[in-house]
Assembly symmetry: C2
Homo-oligomer: 267 residues x 2
């Protein structure tokens, strides 16, 4: 089982984070007894807001792709923010920023979506080099936002692995005021004790499927939380595509939470 951080409770770990939003998220998870995030990959605002209201009670993070909504308008962030307050969850725009610093700064702050103004969390690929973190930080830190870096991906043939993942870890460690964790499949490093604590949010979680035709690969909540030491399970189509999304969300919430209790030896 990976690292000493993974064996501590979320609340106990909060003290080790420099980013305010990470502290908020860790406490929220224990308070609400959930490490489940829903990936709401729907294409209409009505569906998106309905999912947020319906599944809000069972999740810690609501993950959006705001740029696939066909009927987006500025009422969407307002309504989402109200639902986040009503149900006590954080909003994570899964933008996967991947450009140079000056460009991502504009993409994060401006444009139609003004992501920084409503998304508590966003994420970025480290490929362009550390300028991407600095550019996003200039916008996000004054707004008390937090950033995740993509250390690994869940898709087949991903190039984000090995030295790439370790370079990402080092980049995050140099920017702990803003970067509080990773999108990844397992805690890093694998071969030595972690020096600093980071949160790991893991997509590609499903209790039924093992893959799709476009290269996505799935793992179970137990594999992700217990074996790989990750903190938040991100579940998409497996929940919102189910006949009864609420029943399915509860099932994943329970599976993720039990794995966390086992990991922290409280179950």
């Amino acid at each position: 089982m990976p690292s000493s951080f993974a064996s501590q409770t979320y609340t106990a770990r909060a003290a080790g984070f420099a980013n305010d939003l990470a502290v908020q998220l860790l406490k929220l998870m224990d308070r609400k007894k959930t490490n489940l995030s829903i990936a709401a990959d729907v294409t209409s605002k009505a569906e998106l807001l309905q999912l947020a209201d319906l599944l809000g009670p069972y999740i810690c993070v609501f993950k959006t792709h705001i740029d696939i909504l066909d009927d987006y308008d500025s009422s969407v962030p307002e309504a989402l923010t109200a639902l986040a307050e009503k149900h006590d969850f954080l909003i994570f725009e899964d933008r996967k920023f991947a450009d140079i610093g000056s460009t991502v700064k504009a993409q994060y702050q401006s444009g139609v979506y003004k992501i920084a103004s409503w998304a508590h969390i966003t994420n970025a690929h480290p490929i362009p080099g550390e300028g991407i973190v600095h550019g996003l930080k200039e916008v996000g830190l004054p707004l008390k936002r937090g950033l995740l870096l993509l250390a690994e991906m869940s898709s087949k043939g991903t190039l984000a692995q090995g030295k790439y993942s370790m370079d990402t870890l080092a980049m995050a460690a140099r920017n702990r005021d803003f970067v509080f964790g990773f999108i990844g499949q397992r805690r890093l490093p694998l071969d030595e004790p972690e020096k600093e604590d980071f949160l790991y949010l893991t997509p590609g979680v499903s209790m039924a499927q093992s893959g799709d035709s476009l290269g996505q690969q799935y793992r179970s909540p137990e594999q992700v939380v217990l074996e790989s030491g990750c903190d938040v399970i991100i579940v998409g189509r497996a929940i919102y595509g189910a006949a009864d999304p609420v029943a399915e969300a509860k099932k994943y919430q329970e599976a993720g939470w039990n794995a966390y209790l086992q990991r922290t030896r409280r179950a």
Copy 2:
């Protein structure tokens, strides 16, 4: 000087491409005597369309970041398309897709921007694995679009290099019907003859500056076209930020074209 492909004219090389759009671009460049692309990183639609109309005569490709326009509406793609026809250039939305296949498919086709419906060219990071190419291809190929992969970046500390770049090249070679080239700083591979021809479009070109405070690094048209064997120079702030953008565009057009003539031994 790199590879036998680089010493041929754009028109002669057209026969070696499987993607229709690449053929169109190569012929356009020789017809119009320009290998200049403008990176129009402006935040209002009026500025964007003004730049396209003003600089259209001197460029082969107009590169946009549609998601930084504060006042975007559906009239923008229509107006851009009309200007592309008027001035004979192609539109390249520099989206840097970077997600799994099913997600990029939706981001490319749907949402507010419907990028596939108006952008002749777009680009993607290969990090998620080949599913990203397949996802985009399902949308773009029926529309006769073309894709560039990011083999390298121009920013400081980029992780896109070495084996990463070679994996990208292999991914492109398996998808020549849709992928026709790269965003990169030099032709690949560096140590052996190229088996197949690809176009290289190179950002970070400036005749004056050497860098910005967020890690961007600049090189001259001669370095890019002559020394590194790239095909299209992408120039941003150095042109649209100048007191006289048209005069500056002409200067870059001439510098890029002369470097190409020298490379193909016609000057």
